[in-house]
């Protein structure tokens, strides 16, 4: 759930990049960090090993636009993809507002993609969140490689649920469609927030029911 600070009129959205190990989550964040104006972003906090395996999470705060008088801030997180770090993934997923699932398009990674997606569903379910309810997009990453599965198969494997989400062909190493997918999930988030605030405005104000004191029977 987004954090709304009415005093400072700020909204914070938490977007998590999720996916199997070595699918390019940190590369996504690195590219975004590189392209965003330094005035509008914080430092990219990344705890990675020498082999670029994220140990805990990467974090990138972004200051953003003003919507209905609220300054929106985005906090981008990644999770460690390795199977053993599920507790960390659950921790990072807490209070998540939007998810970008990064799938590795390589043939040999299909099974890992499916397992990671199921893991995402499970971890969201533990927070009583359905994957269909939370704003999310799919990234089919590494589209520049040769040994990749066609998009229609990736769609069949990962996006064949009742609710179809937007999906993007991405090359995170060069930045192709990295911002497009982030933009998509941000739009869905802002739309959801805007809709919720509209509902809150149009909801009928509570009406006071006249209270008649009972007359005590003698």
């Amino acid at each position: 759930m987004s954090i709304i600070n009415y005093a400072s009129r700020e909204i914070q959205f938490k977007i998590v990049y999720y996916g199997p190990a070595l699918c390019g989550k940190t590369t996504n964040l690195g590219y975004i960090h590189k392209r965003i104006n330094p005035e509008n972003r914080g430092d990219l906090v990344s705890l990675a090993t020498a082999s670029d395996r994220t140990l805990f999470f990467d974090f990138l705060p972004l200051n953003a636009v003003v919507i209905k008088g609220f300054v929106t801030k985005f906090q981008l997180y990644t999770v460690p993809g390795q199977v053993i770090y599920n507790a960390t993934r659950q921790l990072v997923l807490r209070s998540v507002d939007g998810v970008i699932f990064v799938a590795d398009s390589q043939w040999e990674k299909m099974e890992e993609n499916v397992e990671s997606f199921k893991n995402l569903e499970d971890n969201l379910a533990k927070q009583n969140i359905s994957i269909d309810e939370i704003p999310s997009v799919l990234q089919y990453n590494k589209r520049d490689l040769e040994n990749i599965a066609p998009v229609n198969y990736l769609e069949y494997v990962l996006n064949n649920r009742k609710k179809r989400v937007q999906s993007f062909e991405v090359v995170s190493s060069t930045g192709q469609n990295v911002f497009a997918s982030l933009n998509a999930v941000s739009q869905i988030l802002l739309h959801k927030f805007s809709k919720q605030s509209d509902v809150a405005k149009t909801a009928p104000a509570p009406v006071a029911i006249p209270f008649e004191p009972r007359v005590a029977r003698v």
Partner: protein, 713 residues
């Protein structure tokens, strides 16, 4: 030359000299009273006591000897502590508090004790070289001096204990004729026997606590220790052991569990306390714990199981429950006695087990595949499976509508190339060189085996099924022994040979509500990137696969093809199940034909609103086209890519978004150009304007064409 600020310097010096001269004796002003907030304050803590360090024992000794006092033969002294401390509580409280501290902290706070021995001065001076001390007649040789044990004991190993001359001088300086500096390294020999007696008279500290003795348990070292004692004739402290509490041995039946009472913990502890030791009594052998633990800790043979996710079971080197087992004494129990072994005492693997033949039946080869191809129920209970189970028990007859469909799917087979699959097998499953298999050899598998696995990202079949499916001439290359691993089928090959409708997306999908076009901080960057990479920043379109046409009588509620979706439904004549998987270009053009540039032009020509079209490269080279020659559009088609490139460059400065196409509306017709990467498509309108659906499809087609021709594989 002008020196800056010289005038100020002179003026300042002059005024200072005048002030010095004319400074009268000023009356002493009373100090200004500062407000309380600006004054420094000092808080005195209540109950603060000052603790001074203990005196140096050598200084004390020197003082006492100077005063003619006597020192004990052996003494312990407290070493000087480096800093003084101020405690905020009475000393008695500090001591009690120290006792309550954790052991590590209490040990650190405990004062370090310096071991010292004392000798008579006469013993020390026996080896004193001449010229250092006064005549012995003038010295009281019965006085005692303290010597650091750590200094003296260095020479004890060689039988020649020594002490530095400076140490002696520090304590009795009055007997020396001249001063001995601390840096003097001269050593003074001491009588060995006297020093040894001094060490022998040392005693342990009085406040020592004895560590709690623990009962002896048989360890691998205890037996060896006792043997060594006998071997070397050494004596050790008698072992303080007590008899271990008796362990009931009963068969693990339900009655035994029910009758078992929890052991009284307090009693057990009392029994375990060591008995008072008696010297010279031969220790009792510790009680042997009368059971063995098996490898898995439950005293039962380890089951042959592996994690569910790691594939089929791996042959386990441990003996199976059917193998012979050994009892506690090591006697081999025949297999016949193991039939009801769960009611007896649990056996252990003591002796070498005899392998037992596991009876099994070889199923008929054809029936293996049928069994595998049968739809398997979910391994867990769900609402649906429970409902299905009740339905099947209530109504054993199968629904007539379902049966033909299932039968149809079961009949469909896919052919896969054998060579890549054999190459991907582990060497232990191969008995020959797979490269001898021709590349065109294929084998067939029922689609029903593959279909349920497609969504999992991994397709595999059991070794038995693979062995049966492989052509007979190459079956010898594969070895499907017991416990053989499943055979993974390469997804690429599977997808290439799938029926067209295999990857059908569900029809009832709902699109995510993206809402209005909010300007996010990432919108501008996304557009920039899209332009830079020359790819649309739009999401992937939903793949369109034609709905399969039911060959059997279906209820009339057959799904109406969605007009809004790309491609629509396939024509009823097309046999959907036998079609190979379509490429994205075929999907965009809704055809199964093998496409080349001319074929694409012909199909575009059939789109609604399109009269003719042409495909060009970015440099103007024509790939294919059907534009009427009388219009003479070759020149404008060649120029169009560069024009669109220029327009794109200017559109960056606008808020119009990305360029999707360029329409030239002329009096005799209209042409719309679409461009992606290095490929340009020109579509001549049949009417004034193109339908929006056609525009979308043309945009997708040019996108896919550019993949094919700009980056040929």
């Amino acid at each position: 030359m002008t020196i800056p600020f010289l005038s100020y310097f002179k003026r300042g010096n002059g005024s200072a000299a005048v002030k010095e001269k004319a400074a009268p004796a000023k009356p002493v002003l009373p100090p200004l009273e500062k407000p309380s907030s600006e004054r420094f304050s000092k808080t005195v803590m209540p109950n603060a006591t000052r603790t001074l360090p203990p005196q140096d024992p050598f200084e004390m000794a020197a003082r006492s000897t100077a005063l003619g006092g006597q020192m004990p033969a052996a003494a312990t002294a407290i070493a000087p502590s480096p800093a003084r401390t101020i405690s905020f509580s009475p000393s008695s409280q500090a001591i009690s508090a120290q006792q309550d501290l954790p052991p590590a902290v209490a040990l650190a706070l405990e004062p370090q004790v310096e071991r010292v021995i004392s000798l008579e001065l006469g013993d020390v001076l026996t080896e004193m070289p001449s010229g250092y001390v006064k005549p012995l007649e003038s010295i009281d040789t019965s006085r005692r001096v303290l010597l650091k044990a750590s200094e003296v004991e260095r020479g004890m190993a060689t039988g020649n204990p020594t002490v530095s001359l400076a140490t002696v001088y520090q304590q009795v300086p009055e007997i020396f004729i001249r001063r001995i500096t601390e840096s003097d390294t001269s050593q003074l020999n001491l009588p060995f026997q006297k020093v040894l007696n001094g060490f022998a008279s040392m005693h342990v500290r009085a406040d020592q606590e004895r560590a709690n003795a623990v009962p002896q348990v048989e360890t691998p070292f205890l037996k060896v220790t006792l043997e060594d004692n006998r071997k070397f004739g050494t004596t050790t402290e008698p072992l303080e052991t007590t008899e271990m509490p008796p362990v009931r041995i009963e068969p693990p039946t339900a009655e035994a569990f029910a009758a078992a009472e929890p052991e009284a913990a307090a009693d057990a502890i009392l029994k375990m306390t060591p008995a008072p030791s008696t010297n010279g009594v031969t220790p009792k052998n510790p009680t042997r714990i009368p059971f063995k633990l098996s490898l898995n800790g439950t005293d039962a043979p380890a089951p042959e199981s592996v994690p569910a996710s790691s594939g089929p079971s791996v042959p386990n080197p441990l003996p199976s429950p059917l193998a012979s087992v050994a009892n506690l004494e090591g006697a081999v129990v025949p297999p016949s006695e193991t039939e009801n072994w769960d009611t007896k005492a649990p056996p252990t693997c003591g002796a070498a087990p005899t392998p037992v033949r596991i009876p099994f039946k070889m199923a008929a080869m054809a029936s293996v595949i049928e069994e595998e191809a049968k739809p398997k129920p979910e391994p867990w209970l769900t609402k649906e499976t429970v409902a299905a189970a009740t339905e099947t028990t209530a109504e054993p007859k199968v629904s007539a509508a379902v049966l033909p469909e299932t039968a149809r799917v079961a009949e469909v087979k896919i052919a896969l190339p054998l060579l890549p699959i054999l190459k991907s097998l582990p060497p232990m499953q191969l008995t020959g060189d797979p490269s001898c298999v021709p590349a065109d050899v294929r084998f067939e598998l029922p689609f029903a085996l593959i279909e349920p696995q497609l969504a999992s990202g991994r397709v595999s079949i059991t070794a038995k099924v693979f062995e049966v499916s492989v052509p007979v001439s190459f079956r010898g290359l594969f070895q499907a022994g017991p416990g053989a691993l499943d055979v993974s089928l390469p997804l690429q090959e599977v997808l290439k040979n799938l029926p067209a409708a295999a990857l059908r997306m569900r029809a009832d999908q709902e699109e995510q509500d993206a809402g209005q076009n909010f300007a996010t901080p990432f919108s501008a960057k996304a557009e920039e990137d899209a332009k830079r990479f020359n790819v649309p920043a739009t999401p992937v379109a939903k793949p369109v696969v034609p709905e399969p046409v039911a060959e059997v009588a279906e209820p009339p509620k057959a799904e109406v093809p969605d007009e809004g979706r790309d491609g629509g439904a396939a024509s009823p004549e097309e046999p959907s199940s036998d079609r190979p998987l379509r490429t994205p270009l075929q999907v965009a053009l809704n055809t199964d034909e093998k496409l080349d540039a001319k074929g694409v032009v012909a199909l575009i020509h059939k789109l609604s609103g399109v009269k003719a079209c042409a495909i060009h490269f970015g440099d103007g080279l024509s790939l294919a086209g059907s534009l009427p020659a009388d219009l003479e559009t070759d020149g404008i088609c060649a120029m169009a890519p560069s024009l669109m490139q220029r327009l794109e460059n200017h559109l960056v400065d606008t808020k119009l978004g990305l360029l999707r196409g360029m329409t030239l509306s002329c009096t005799k017709g209209a042409v719309t150009f679409y461009m992606h990467e290095n490929l340009c498509l020109a579509a001549l309108h049949a009417d004034l304007d193109l339908p929006s659906e056609t525009r979308e499809r043309l945009s997708r087609i040019v996108h896919e064409l550019s993949r094919k021709y700009s980056h040929p594989v």
